[in-house]
């Protein structure tokens, strides 16, 4: 079972010695056991949830960095494509890059 999704911690409580919390998944809220990430989470943090348990925390800084790299890569590819199609059809094979 590998299916787990990210959610945002809305509240944290102690349930007879077990750290539990309410986590929001894009509008859907569920009760989640936060015991394994208790030292790292606070309200507003993101966690990865699998069968009702937070199995790790989501590093928002890392997520931002990954997306930035990917978007930059895509932008470069777009620019390459634009440059290639903007070259004059003069038969001069070496123009541009």
């Amino acid at each position: 079972m590998c299916l787990a999704i990210p959610g945002r911690v809305l509240s944290v409580r102690d349930d007879a010695g077990l750290t539990m919390g309410v986590v929001d998944f894009g509008g859907v809220r569920r009760d989640v056991c936060l015991q394994y990430v208790a030292d790292e989470v606070a309200v507003g943090a993101y966690v990865i949830v699998h069968v009702g348990f937070a199995i790790s925390t989501l590093d928002e800084e890392e997520a931002r960095r990954t997306l930035e790299v990917l978007r930059e890569m895509h932008l470069l590819d777009e620019l390459d494509a634009m440059t290639a199609s903007a070259e004059p059809p003069s038969g001069d094979a070496g123009s541009g890059r």
């Binding site: 079972m1 590998c2 299916l3 787990a4 999704i5 990210p6 945002r8 007879a16 010695g17 077990l18 998944f25 894009g26 056991c33 015991q35 394994y36 990430v37 208790a38 030292d39 993101y46 990865i48 699998h50 069968v51 009702g52 348990f53 199995i55 790790s56 925390t57 989501l58 590093d59 928002e60 890392e62 997520a63 960095r65 990954t66 997306l67 990917l70 978007r71 890569m73 895509h74 590819d77 777009e78």
Partner: protein
């Protein structure tokens, strides 16, 4: 949904595909370990979009699919007993045993209930002290922490009528078994992202070094998978074989230490039989002796059940990537999700069910455009 939808960006996906195709100077064979990853690949047609540059060989990362037939039969035997509430994850219901499945046991009067979390099963035990509540604890390392906590909690709260039927397997021994198999074609791996979220990735470092294969810890969305593939192909083209982490937003080097600690307290390593592969030493988990009161196999006396596999189901060959689902003669004919011959056709992480959905989807599309 935040931190999910961004990784489904079609434009970024296209760029990654272009880059992979540009970088590959030959066709590489990669294995994605996790069934969830298989589903994304097949559903999005990523393997087709990468044809010629990368072949994706589907791995055995479907815990339901690799559960031996006898474990399913044990579950059915227990579920049929009066006074038992048998609980499991939803997709176990139609996994076929030798003669039946949980859904049929339920139809004949067995109290079989689907739960989302093992803690739900524990709560059922607390609410029904007159019943024996059993939870079918199937899974990889991703699920072990949840199951460990349920057992730990049962002991803490002194719940006497809760037990687990354990069928836990671990990934690294399966990866080495695949690499050791004669005729192995896999040249690199996409490691299971959520298994590594729990375990970290240290275990893969000696495997990458010993076998000379790149191993990239990868997520589950299309952009994650493509980025993982791009990283693996770059390593192969460069002649490198290291462990890299594509899924860095969710996977930290040390994993989740508290989760690993609880698993170690409740479970210990054991030899396990993987359906279609055979026994892999030290590849599974069993309850430690001090938790034997929660072991359903002992409580219900089903420990010595043994069964032979039916001929028609080629799950073993699919799970080790030797054949693709559509190469199985029963695919789509004798074997469908409604009447499956084996687990891969009915599990949400099974390769056969992934291919079947795609075939059905395409047939529906064609029906729509046909004059």
């Amino acid at each position: 949904m935040k931190y999910l939808e961004e990784y489904r960006d079609a434009e970024i996906a296209k760029s990654l595909i272009t880059r992979i195709r540009a970088r590959a100077t030959r066709r590489w064979a990669l294995m994605e370990v996790c069934g969830g990853q298989t589903h994304t690949i097949v559903r999005q047609g990523l393997d087709e979009l990468l044809e010629g540059a990368v072949e994706m060989i589907h791995g055995p990362g479907c815990p339901v699919c690799v559960t031996p037939l006898e474990q399913i039969d044990k579950a059915l035997a227990i579920a049929a007993r009066p006074g038992v509430i048998f609980t499991s994850f939803g997709d176990m219901l139609r996994v076929p045993g030798s003669h039946s499945d949980l859904q049929q046991v339920r139809a004949r009067g067995g109290d079989v209930r689907v739960v989302y979390s093992p803690l739900d099963a524990l709560a059922l035990a607390q609410h029904h002290p007159d019943k024996e509540v059993v939870f079918f604890a199937v899974g990889f390392e991703t699920t072990a922490p949840a199951n460990a906590m349920a057992v730990w909690r049962a002991r803490d709260l002194n719940v006497k009528n809760f037990s687990v039927l354990v069928s836990h397997v671990t990934v690294p021994p399966a990866v080495t078994a695949i690499l050791d198999a004669p005729g192995n074609r896999v040249q690199g791996f996409l490691a299971a992202g959520h298994v590594c979220a729990v375990m970290g990735w240290e275990e893969y470092v000696p495997i990458a070094a010993r076998y000379g294969v790149p191993i990239v810890v990868t997520g589950f969305e299309p952009v994650d998978i493509l980025e993982g593939i791009a990283m693996a192909v770059a390593q192969l083209e460069d002649g490198r074989h290291e462990v890299e982490n594509q899924y860095a937003r969710s996977v930290h080097r040390q994993g989740t230490p508290a989760a690993r600690a609880r698993v170690q307290q409740v479970f210990e390593m054991t030899d396990r039989k993987w359906r279609g592969i055979g026994e892999i030493p030290m590849s599974g988990l069993r309850l430690r002796e001090e938790f034997s009161a929660y072991d359903a196999e002992r409580l219900f006396g089903v420990a010595d059940l043994s069964v032979t596999e039916p001929e028609a189901c080629k799950a073993g060959e699919v799970l080790t990537g030797r054949i693709k689902p559509r190469q199985c003669p029963s695919f789509g004919t004798q074997c469908t999700p409604e009447r499956p011959l084996g687990a891969p056709m009915v599990s949400t992480e099974g390769a056969c069910s992934a291919y079947y959905s795609l075939v059905k989807h395409r047939a529906a599309e064609q029906a729509m455009v046909a004059p």
